[in-house]
């Protein structure tokens, strides 16, 4: 019993706080009337911040496995949890408008959100295929519920697509896990690592690892399942789309990094297969994004291409790869939330999703456009923003160990040219002299404005003070 209390107190505390908050939210929905959404919002925010603080307890207990080695706590998982919670805070701030409309349903909305955050934190720190599978399922179910929260046709259709997509993906995942179990008889990562690391990996082991990776890409929106992403994001409401584009992806990449780190880190062939998938996703995301006129689909394609880059960083089976992934994930978090928050502000004021309506907003709201501009520039990967530095660090990590990384480096860097063209189309629109709509951005969007300006500030800060962050990511990537 005391072991259980010790484990919860030191390692599993953040998750428990989130779950308690989720349950408390549901309970409170019974007592409060119409305009209680403010309270539920504040409650979720406070609980996430407390769990973020409680993460610091676990730092001293790195390497511990809890609940009979089902979950593990390493530096890497702590950082990923920090990122996930940061994403959660941003989502709650962004969904102020939705929760106002949902009135008393806001409690359910926030509780489902909290459950999905709980699932992604468990996914990252899971050390066994069973908890991995369970948290993955909870994550996909809650995400589809969040998408479908809006009683319109489009969100319903998007939620249905999401569920079917994740169902097919879990099919692949289970096939891979069963093969893995068939060979080794183990499901636990550390045991698998001990028994099967040294032996020459049989063909079946390779196939099962490829299948597992394919199964996971559904959450990441990478190669096999990247076609669903634009439709899902277009259907879902803005904050949820923002949330989907960051938090589940970070969790998926976290667990993928840990699987690759523990189970399959010296097979060059697998390395090449993953980088091929990554390059395909980058190309798909960028080339697809050129013809888009809807801001949501455009941002969906751009998030697909960025996930391609993150998968590319993971395809380098080395510490450098993981550390470049961590830095890229951090910058990606801020970039994406910045852009989505700006899009939310624009939609609330002008009501249209069409990119053409962004014409000339610089002359109406200069400071807002400058922030939007910095986010887009960092998405494109141009220097004064940390987007450039993350791509540079990724490319350096690609060629860190041996020169075999060069053939992958050249296509990846050439694709960034299309990225620049993509984002600068919007930027040139924003500065166009003939403003069609003269929308006045209402002041009461305080939360979203905070998110936008905070993200742009963080983008610039992570560029100028990148040394500390890269040192941290290198330290975290060692004990994966």
């Amino acid at each position: 019993m005391d072991l259980l209390i010790f484990e919860i107190k030191n390692i599993f505390l953040p998750e428990t706080i989130i779950i308690i908050a989720a349950l408390f939210n549901i309970l409170l929905s019974l007592f409060f009337g119409k305009n209680a959404y403010k309270f539920s919002e504040r409650l979720t925010l406070v609980s996430i911040i407390i769990s973020l603080a409680s993460l610091s307890f676990g730092i001293s207990h790195c390497g511990y496995t809890i609940f009979s080695e089902n979950f593990i706590q390493t530096n890497f998982t702590i950082i990923m949890k920090v990122l996930i919670l940061l994403g959660a805070i941003f989502t709650v701030l962004l969904s102020q408008n939705i929760s106002k409309k949902l009135k008393n349903q806001a409690f359910e909305y926030h509780s489902i959100l909290l459950i999905s955050i709980f699932a992604s934190m468990c996914l990252v720190s899971s050390n066994d295929f069973i908890p991995l599978f369970i948290s993955l399922e909870i994550l996909s179910v809650t995400s589809s519920l969040l998408i479908a929260f809006w009683n319109k046709y489009k969100p319903k259709e998007a939620a249905l697509k999401f569920i079917i997509n994740s169902a097919v993906a879990t099919g692949f995942l289970l096939l891979g896990i069963s093969y893995m179990y068939g060979i080794s008889g183990e499901l636990n990562f550390s045991l698998l690592n001990i028994n099967y690391y040294s032996q020459d990996t049989s063909l079946l082991f390779g196939i099962s690892s490829v299948l597992i990776i394919i199964g996971l890409t559904c959450q990441l929106g990478c190669m096999p399942f990247q076609r669903f992403v634009p439709d899902i994001y277009q259907g879902s409401p803005y904050p949820i789309a923002a949330y989907l584009s960051v938090v589940p992806k970070l969790a998926g990449f976290g667990i993928l990094a840990r699987i690759i780190g523990t189970l399959m880190y010296d097979t060059p062939i697998l390395q090449f297969v993953i980088s091929f998938a990554a390059l395909y996703t980058i190309a798909y995301g960028l080339i697809g994004g050129i013809r888009q006129t809807d801001i949501k689909r455009f941002l969906a394609y751009s998030s697909v291409s960025h996930c391609g880059f993150m998968l590319l960083s993971l395809s380098i089976f080395s510490n450098y790869g993981v550390s470049s992934f961590i830095y890229y994930a951090l910058v990606y978090l801020f970039m994406n939330f910045g852009v989505w928050a700006a899009a939310i502000i624009f939609v609330n004021c002008s009501g249209t999703d069409n990119i053409k309506d962004y014409r000339g907003i610089f002359y109406i709201r200069p400071y807002y456009t400058v922030a939007f501009l910095i986010c887009l520039i960092s998405l494109a990967g141009l220097p004064p923003s940390s987007g450039f530095l993350s791509k540079l660090y990724l490319f350096i990590a690609l060629t860190r160990l041996d020169v075999s990384g060069l053939p992958i480096l050249i296509p990846a860097s050439l694709l960034t040219v299309i990225a620049v063209f993509l984002y600068f189309n919007i930027i040139s629109l924003m500065f166009d002299r003939t403003p069609k709509n003269n929308c006045i951005i209402p002041a009461q969007h305080m939360n979203t404005k905070i998110v936008v300006y905070f993200c742009t500030l963080m983008i610039l800060l992570t560029f100028f003070f990148a040394n500390k962050i890269i040192a941290l990511s290198m330290f975290a990537s060692i004990g994966i």
Binding site: V403, V417, V420, F465, N467, I470
Partner: protein, 508 residues
């Protein structure tokens, strides 16, 4: 007394000025903004002149590093923000701030809208260009190289004429492709620097050392050399990649096209010297015949292309391309005379193209048209401008006692006496290159006579002659052209030991 001369101040004060201008402190009263910008420009120019003065008094070369929280900027990745000035850049930095000052002053009447945004972008551009010249670290060079894109993109697209958005996008994509080649080559170089002696660092001097004794496979070295060369060839518009240059020149406003042709091309030229010549000497020697052929194609093609252009700015853009062909010719001749000539052309080209674009700007301001057919007979109304046009056109055609002549003479001499591997190639190339004197004369004076001299047969409008601050700018440029034309040794003695150090690298 030396900490007064810190490079950090030189490079980052313009950014500070840009922030102050962009901040709500100034509001939108453009008179204050303009005055503030001009005072900042003059202070910055005087400050940069200090560097030449101290450089003359024996201060060998300036070095400065930015430390954040006690350690280098990106210590973990081996990149630290180190800035330094040597023989060449001690001249280029003041030249850059001089041209910026002139374009700031001139943009008083040429820029009518969005002053706040314009002046802040100009200052950001100034600091990025200075960053490119002074950066001692490879990746820092790349960062400033690409940071130049955004301000210039907006400067071209916001204040340009007809299809400036299209040409701004073309500029952006061309230069970004070039910088992709650069970044891949730099990463390859960075990797081998680490492999050869274990210590992770991206500073250029360290890499030069590790290049000599490194275990580079020759094939990869060639790949890196070509990566660097194409990256810089796009910026220094070598013929196949020059389209962005002519388009963005003809569509951008005058002060921006002045800056574009006088300064931005120099960064490309500086890059070739700093990376291709410095880091890959034996490959540069091996491929110098091909570079020479590139140079000659550049010269002849640009000159012939300039003949039938009906847009004045395009003709002058082609003129700058042929001048940069001369620079390449001087560089590929691999002897002291050729190198001196190449660097002199780099400096002289900035003054001349700035002057030429200033004149086209003034003409555009008065006659409201850029196409040649509609322009004729301005000489009657603007005799003073015509006189200055005389001086600048003669400088463009490299008449002696103007700034262009020493450069061209040295380059032709260097090319003729260069002992490159294919024996007669150097001599043939220098003889073909001499044709530029004839070709340049014909198309520049065709332009001059069409604009100023033919009789004004239809328009009855009264054009008022150039006066006030515009006259002062043109007079200053002409004064510099004649001053450095009559006393070329004053410039050459400054960058003399730089060329000597280059020669030792080439010889070794």
């Amino acid at each position: 007394m030396f900490d007064l001369l810190s490079l950090k101040i030189l490079i980052f004060t313009p950014v500070l000025a840009a922030i102050i201008i962009a901040s709500p402190l100034f509001g939108t009263n453009f008179i204050y903004i303009r005055r503030f910008a001009k005072t900042c420009g003059t202070i910055h120019f005087l400050y940069s002149l200090l560097f030449i003065v101290f450089y003359n008094f024996g201060v060998e070369s300036f070095y400065d590093e930015i430390m954040i929280f006690g350690s280098g900027w990106l210590e973990k990745l081996g990149i630290n923000a180190a800035f330094g000035l040597d023989g060449l850049t001690v001249l280029l930095a003041p030249l850059t701030s001089f041209i910026f000052l002139i374009s700031l002053i001139v943009s008083k009447t040429m820029i009518r809208t969005k002053h706040k945004m314009y002046y802040s972008l100009m200052f950001i551009l100034l600091s990025t260009v200075l960053g490119v010249f002074c950066s001692k670290d490879m990746f820092l060079f790349l960062i400033f190289w690409e940071a130049e894109l955004i301000p210039l993109y907006f400067l071209i697209s916001e204040w340009g004429s007809c299809n400036c958005k299209h040409s701004a996008m073309k500029y952006l994509l061309y230069i970004f492709c070039g910088s992709i080649f650069l970044s891949v080559a730099m990463i390859g170089l960075f990797f081998y620097g680490y492999l050869s002696n274990g210590e992770l660092s991206a500073s250029i001097d360290f890499l030069r050392v590790s290049m000599t004794d490194g275990i580079f496979p020759v094939f990869l070295k060639k790949l890196l050399f070509f990566g660097f060369f194409t990256g810089f060839a796009v910026k220094l518009p070598i013929i196949p990649f020059h389209i962005w240059f002519t388009d963005s020149q003809s569509d951008s406003a005058t002060p921006i096209s002045m800056v574009l042709s006088a300064i931005i091309i120099n960064t490309g030229a500086y890059g070739i010297i700093r990376f291709n010549l410095d880091l890959f000497p034996e490959l540069f020697i091996k491929y110098s015949p091909f570079i020479m052929i590139f140079a000659v194609i550049n010269i002849i093609w640009a000159s012939l292309a300039a003949f039938k252009q009906n847009d004045i700015k395009k003709t002058i853009a082609y003129y700058s391309i042929s001048q940069m062909g001369l620079f390449l010719l001087g560089l590929s001749s691999l002897n002291k005379i050729g190198l001196d000539g190449a660097i002199f052309i780099m400096l002289s080209h900035s003054f001349i193209s700035a002057g030429l674009f200033l004149i086209t700007g003034l003409i555009y301001q008065v006659a409201k048209t850029k196409t040649l057919q509609e322009l004729s007979g301005l000489g009657e109304f603007m005799p003073i401008l015509m006189l200055f046009a005389y001086v600048i056109n003669f400088a463009a055609v490299a008449v002696p006692l103007t700034i262009a002549f020493p450069g061209q003479l040295l380059v032709f001499l260097g090319a003729f006496s260069s002992d490159c591997s294919i024996e007669p190639l150097a001599k043939i190339c220098s003889f073909i290159a001499i044709l530029i004197m004839l070709l340049a004369a014909s198309y520049i004076f065709k332009l001059f006579h069409k604009i100023f001299c033919t009789s004004q047969f239809y328009s009855t409008k009264k054009y008022h002659d150039v006066s006030g601050h515009r006259l002062m700018c043109i007079a200053v440029i002409c004064f510099c052209i004649i001053l450095f034309g009559c006393f070329p040794d004053s410039l050459m003695s400054i960058y003399n030991n730089f060329t000597e150090s280059l020669l030792e690298i080439l010889r070794v």
